[in-house]
Amino acid sequence: MSERELTMAEALNEALHGEMERDPGVFVVGEDIAQIGGLFQVTAGLLDKYGPQRVIDAPISEAGQVGAGVGAALVGCRPVVELQIADFVTLTMDQLVNHAAKWRYMSGGKVTVPFVLRGAVSSGIGMAGQHSQTLEAWFVHAPGLVVIMPSTPYDAKGLLTAAIRDDNPVVFLEKRLLYSRRGPVPEGDYTVPIGVADIKREGTDVTVACYSQGVHLALQAGRQLAEQGIELEIVDLRTLKPLDIETLGNSVRKTGRLVVVSEGARAGGVASEIVARIVDEAYDSLRTAPVRVTAKDTPIPYAAQLERAVMPQVDDLVAAVTGMLEPVAGS
């Protein structure tokens, strides 16, 4: 059986086609998603198949779209709202956090909000300050939300399918540079379980906790370091909330060392959260201080070499790993 390869954008598109076919309550809303199939073609072909009531080119009003998604979810639909660029989530934080995330709890557990908010994280291509942010840390800090960031086409299709079927509000962030990356994707229906990390590379020396684009930085660093005899264990978290602390903890207990990679800003980022969780979970197994490899605490600049300077690079990860393996003076 030859393995079929798709881009991540195609994989996501298949997930949407599959779920819209399967469940008439699934519908998609967003800017420029119907007629042209979205700027990144993730919603391509849906309008022709499912019509304008289920595939909606919405007016530019992100908060309204998210709020409408919540309302439709409350009456039993499974809306999927696309943010053209993930930064625009800033406009929707009230509908997302004060509404989607809390409605179930505030109702005493009586209602469910099966709602997916997808968006493209667009750093790395010069889109500059207002189009390059990745804010997963905010969502992790909003009880009631599920947060997913896939790194491969396979995971993307399976996780988006799982997200749509999940009865909770899900924020699903797609790194734009990954849309065109290819990988094997089975045809038809499958899910990748939410809350389960995936070990993308086994190793014995240092655990790398990562997700989305960070996984690819880690894989590249892993190849480089293997040449020096250093074996990374790469744990692709895939979902940030819930976090698969078990898999990550087991890996850290094995290697005794942890590097966390995140493209989010450093202060208050997901990397900090993961360090704190591992401190709770596996402190005594740590042979050295966990290290965070993150974006710097700046807005994202436009010029190429500036953007590169503030975003985490493979070299930063390599340096972090080799730094923690050096014998510490006096210990």
């Binding site: 919405a58 009003s61 998604g69 309302g71 505030m106 005493g108 809350g195 976090l243």
Partner: protein, 333 residues
Amino acid sequence: MTSASVVGAATLEELLLRMWRIRAFEIRAMELFEEKLIRGSVHPYIGMEAIAVGVCAALRPDDFITSTHRGHGHCVAKGLDLRRMMAEIIGREDGYCRGRGGSMHITAIEQGMLGADAIVAGSSALAVGAAHGLRLQGRDSVVVCFFGDGAANQGILHEACNLAAVLSAQVIFVCENNEWAISTPASASTRIANIAIRAEGYGFPGVVADGNDVEEMRAVTEAALVRARAGDGPTLIEAKSYRITAHSAATKVDLRPAEELDAWRARDPILQLSRKLVESGVDEARIGEIEAQARADVADAVEFALASPRPDPGAATEDVYAPADWNVLERLS
């Protein structure tokens, strides 16, 4: 008591009873707040009863509403159980939200109440999405979105109105213009006399109605419902009214001029409807009975609520997430 039926053409006496239930509920709620049995806040609907009762009298049971921080009146008018409402606002297990939500968050989807919302204007987009969802399900149920004059200036309302217009969503926007938003008069928060005119900017009808006249409220709602169910899209109804009480039970400074308050007190919707009923031949005593009935219903609700158990603190972390495969305790970070 059993929850009020909201089906069919209720008689004026029935409408009066519902209005009195709201008022009696709010009076007791304010007292319970003073007695510290209710925490947080209570925003009484007193003086505005004709709006919710008139609008909801036109609805079918399978129609929906969204509500606000000042939501008790909408709940009662939609037929929610006073007992479970009262239990909620004093924070007991038998409350609609098991004590999680409190006064500003009563939700009862099974009765068409999508939820009260303490974010001013926050539920407007929810209403639009719910309406669209109902349409997809092939239902002609309509969603009514209540909001205040103060809420009219929030961005989300603009987005919701425009989206509703574009989708021809089966929504009715009901602006409860009670002239004030806490200490800010509507005249200071906009430069226009009638919020209803904003509907033109979305391409659907805007209607000004007397919010203290329950029959007028029912009638304008009926017209809007016909439009909505026919797929012709939303209507904005601006109900001119007034809150006779202060903004909330916790309000310390109230700027409303005495004359203004007096003028509106004279137009009290309950007073007006009672007078009308008497003029049409109903016995004064019957009016008294209706009030007594409402007060008795509320007393019963308070008794029920106070007897209801307090929620178990150990369950405080439940229900953040809906059940799911991944949702086993140890995976939850």
